[in-house]
C-alpha cells in the first residue's frame, strides 16, 4: 500500500495563448486552462504504481479557484482525493514560495505520505525547480527527470537518462520524484468518470490561514526573485525582409550573411563573382 501525492499545476493552453506579440503582454486570465503535460505523466505513473502496489492517490494543486478543474480531471482519471490551495496571498510566488506552500499543505493533508510525484517541469514557467525544492523543504530524498518508477516494499527504483548516462537509482520512502513525459503516456479520461467527478466529489479547499502558513513566505511577498519585464523575443528581432527573384535573393543572402553561413559550416564562402 502506497500513499501517493501528485502535485498538479493548471497551465494556460499554449496554442491558444492570447498574447500580443508586439508588446509581449499575455492575457493570462483569458487563456483556457489545462493540466500541465508532465503533471499528467506524473499522475499516470501514480495510477500504475497503485495498480501493482495498492494504495491511495491524492492530487494537490495551488492556484486560482478555477484550478479545481484539474483536480476533478485527476479524480476522473482515478485519483481518490483532490486538494485545492487557493488564496490571493499565494499568487505570484516563485518556486521558493510555491515549494514552501505545497510542503506545509502536504504535511497537513497527507501526513503519512510515502511518495510524492511531480511533473518534471511546467509548460508555462518551465523552471523544473518546484519538485527538487519541495523535497528539500520536506527533507526527504528526491530524484528529478525520471522516466521509470518501480516501488518495492519501502524502496523505490528509478531509471532516467541524465547527461548521457542511463542511471538506475534507488531511494527509501518517503521520497519525491519528478516525472518526464517520456514514458508514461497518459490514459484518456473516461467520460462517465468525468461526469461523476464534476458532480459528486468534494474538493478539499484550503487557504493560508487554514494551513497555518506564514504570510511572509507566500506568493510574491515570499519570493526571492522579481520579474522586471516580460516580452516576446520576436519584438526584439531585427527581422530583415528580402524579396525579389530567387536568384537575386540568394545573391543578397550571401552578400550580407556569408560570414554567418560560412561560420556555421566552417567554410569560407566569401569570394564572389570571378569564374562560375
Amino acid at each position: 500500500m502506497v500513499e501517493i501525492v501528485v502535485c498538479i499545476k493548471q497551465v494556460p493552453q499554449v496554442s491558444e495563448l492570447p498574447w500580443d506579440p508586439k508588446t509581449g503582454t499575455l492575457k493570462r486570465d483569458l487563456a483556457e486552462g489545462m493540466m500541465n503535460p508532465a503533471c499528467r505523466a506524473a499522475l499516470e505513473a501514480a495510477l500504475r504504481v497503485r495498480e501493482t502496489e495498492g494504495g491511495t492517490i491524492m492530487a494537490i494543486t495551488m492556484g486560482p479557484p478555477m484550478a479545481e478543474e484539474v483536480l476533478r480531471e485527476a479524480i476522473a482519471l482515478g485519483a481518490d482525493r483532490g486538494v485545492l490551495l487557493t488564496d490571493r496571498r499565494m499568487a505570484g510566488g516563485d518556486t521558493l514560495a510555491t515549494s514552501y506552500t505545497l510542503a506545509r499543505a502536504i504535511e497537513k493533508t497527507s501526513p503519512g505520505f510515502d511518495l510524492i510525484l511531480c511533473g518534471y517541469s511546467t509548460s508555462d514557467s518551465e523552471t523544473a525547480q518546484v519538485g527538487p525544492q519541495l523535497a528539500e523543504e520536506l527533507s526527504i530524498p528526491g530524484a528529478a527527470s525520471v522516466d521509470g518508477i518501480a516501488v518495492a516494499g519501502r524502496k523505490v527504483r528509478m531509471q532516467r537518462i541524465a547527461d548521457n548516462y542511463l542511471e538506475t537509482l534507488e531511494m527509501p520512502l518517503p521520497g519525491l520524484i519528478t516525472v518526464t513525459t517520456g514514458s508514461y503516456t497518459p490514459r484518456h479520461v473516461p467520460l462517465a468518470g468525468l461526469q461523476a467527478a464534476f458532480s459528486a466529489v468534494r474538493i478539499e479547499t484550503f487557504d493560508a490561514d487554514a494551513l497555518g502558513l506564514d504570510a511572509e513566505r507566500l506568493g510574491a511577498t515570499g519570493s526571492a526573485t522579481r520579474i522586471l519585464t516580460v516580452y516576446s523575443p520576436t519584438a526584439k528581432k531585427e527581422n530583415r525582409v528580402l524579396t525579389g527573384t530567387p536568384k537575386r535573393i540568394v545573391e543578397q543572402l550571401f552578400a550580407e550573411f556569408d560570414d554567418r553561413i560560412g561560420g556555421a559550416i566552417s567554410q569560407d564562402l566569401k569570394s564572389s563573382k570571378e569564374r562560375s
Binding site: Q129, Q133, P141, N164, E170, I227, L253
Partner: protein, 348 residues
C-alpha cells in the same frame, strides 16, 4: 577571515567534459560580468580524481593539472576543490550539502550552474537551502545599473522571455542553457589559485543510491546537436520538392527537420519532427522553408542563433520570428541556394 572580494562562482560540471562545455562558457561570461561589478571568478569542483579528468587536454601543460587547472586556463581566478572518494559519482544530496556549506561561508555574490540534467536538479536544492532565488535555464545574463544580475529566461516554450532579478537575497543564482555563451580559449599561462577544501565532517550519507550508470551511446542527437538545421514544412509542396532539402542540408553539413504535416504526409521520417511532439534544435543557423510557425513547432526552435525563413506569405508567424524573412517560393529558393552554394564551395 581574509578581507573578501566579491565573487562570482561557476559550478564545475565536468562529467561530460568534451561534449558539454557549458562550464567553460559560464567561466567566460562570468569574467565579463566580474568586470562590471569588480569581482573575482571562482570555479567550484567536487569530485574524485579530478586531476585526471581532462588529462589529454593538458598534456602540454606542466603547471596545472586536472579540472581545476583547466578552469583557471579558461578564466577562473580561483578554484575551490573538494576531492574525495565519496564524490566519485555525482550525487545530488552530498553535492548540495557541500555547495550550501561553502557558499554559506564564503558568501559569493552570484552562483552560475550549467542547465544540464544534473545542474537543473542540483541548483534548486542549493538555492532552497540558502533561501535564495534561482532562475532556470537562462539564455542571457547581464548586470544592470544597480549592480544586479539580470537573468533572461524563456517561458511558454520560448514565446515569452522574462528578465528576472534577485533584489535582496544572496547569492543570485541561475542555471544557464549550454551553447549560449562562447568559451574563451585556454591560456595555460594564466595563473590562479587552487584552494583545497577538505570534505567536511558530519555530511550525512546520500539517501539516493546509484545502482548503475552506463554511458549511453550519445543519443541519436544528430538533429538536436546539428550546427545547421534545414527545416521544411507543408509549403515545400510535394515529397519530391521536399527531397531537395536533403541536398541543401548535405551541402551545409546540416540535418533536415520537418513539421508535423510533413511527417504525416510521409515526406520524411518521423524522427525528423521538430517541435513539442518531436525534437528541440539549437543550431547556429536554422533555415525554415514553407513553415507557418505554429507554436508547437517554434517552441522547439528557440535555441537557434540565427533564423532564415522562406515563405510566400510575408505575414506568417515564422517570418516574424526570423532574423531574415525571405518572401519567395520555398522550392525555388531552395534550388537557387543549392546552386549558389555548389558554386562557392567548389571554389573555396
Amino acid at each position: 577571515m581574509s578581507k573578501t572580494k566579491r565573487s562570482i562562482w561557476v559550478f564545475g560540471d565536468y562529467r561530460n567534459y568534451f561534449q558539454n562545455r557549458v562550464t567553460l562558457q559560464l567561466l567566460s561570461r562570468a569574467r565579463e560580468l566580474a568586470g562590471k561589478i569588480d569581482a573575482e571568478v571562482c570555479g567550484v569542483v567536487f569530485g574524485h580524481w579530478t586531476e585526471e579528468w581532462v588529462d589529454d587536454a593538458l598534456s602540454q601543460n606542466p603547471t596545472f593539472c586536472g579540472v581545476a587547472g583547466e578552469y583557471i586556463a579558461h578564466g577562473a581566478d580561483k578554484v575551490y576543490l573538494t576531492d574525495d572518494p565519496r564524490l566519485a559519482s555525482y550525487s545530488v544530496e552530498t553535492y548540495t550539502h557541500l555547495m550550501a556549506r561553502l557558499a554559506g561561508r564564503e558568501k559569493p555574490e552570484i552562483i552560475l550552474i550549467g542547465a544540464t540534467t544534473f545542474g537543473r536538479e542540483f541548483a534548486p536544492r542549493v538555492a532552497k537551502r540558502l533561501g535564495t532565488g534561482l532562475t532556470a535555464d537562462c539564455i542571457g545574463l547581464d548586470i544592470n545599473e544597480e549592480g544586479l544580475l539580470v537573468q533572461t529566461a524563456p517561458s511558454f516554450g520560448g514565446n515569452l522571455v522574462a528578465e528576472i532579478v534577485t533584489p535582496e537575497r544572496r547569492p543570485q543564482m541561475a542555471t544557464v542553457r549550454p551553447g549560449i555563451f562562447q568559451e574563451i580559449s585556454h591560456d595555460y599561462d594564466r595563473r590562479g589559485e587552487v584552494l583545497c577544501v577538505p570534505m567536511p565532517e558530519g555530511i550525512p550519507a546520500d539517501r539516493i543510491r546509484l545502482l548503475s550508470s552506463e554511458k549511453c551511446p550519445p543519443r541519436e542527437g544528430k538533429l538536436e546537436d546539428a550546427k545547421v538545421v534545414v527545416c521544411g514544412g507543408r509549403g515545400m509542396g510535394t515529397k519530391k520538392k521536399f527531397a531537395k532539402l536533403f541536398e541543401l542540408a548535405e551541402l551545409l553539413g546540416g540535418e533536415v527537420g520537418a513539421t508535423r504535416p510533413v511527417v504525416y504526409a510521409d515526406w520524411t521520417e518521423r524522427d525528423a519532427l521538430v517541435g513539442q511532439a518531436g525534437k528541440q534544435v539549437k543550431p547556429q543557423i536554422l533555415f525554415s522553408f514553407g513553415i507557418s510557425g505554429a507554436i508547437q513547432h517554434t517552441a522547439a526552435c528557440t535555441g537557434a542563433k540565427f533564423t532564415i525563413a522562406v515563405n510566400k506569405n510575408p505575414n506568417a508567424t515564422m517570418m516574424k520570428l526570423a532574423d531574415v524573412a525571405v518572401v519567395a517560393d520555398a522550392g525555388q529558393l531552395c534550388s537557387a541556394l543549392i546552386q549558389e552554394l555548389k558554386r562557392r564551395i567548389r571554389r573555396s
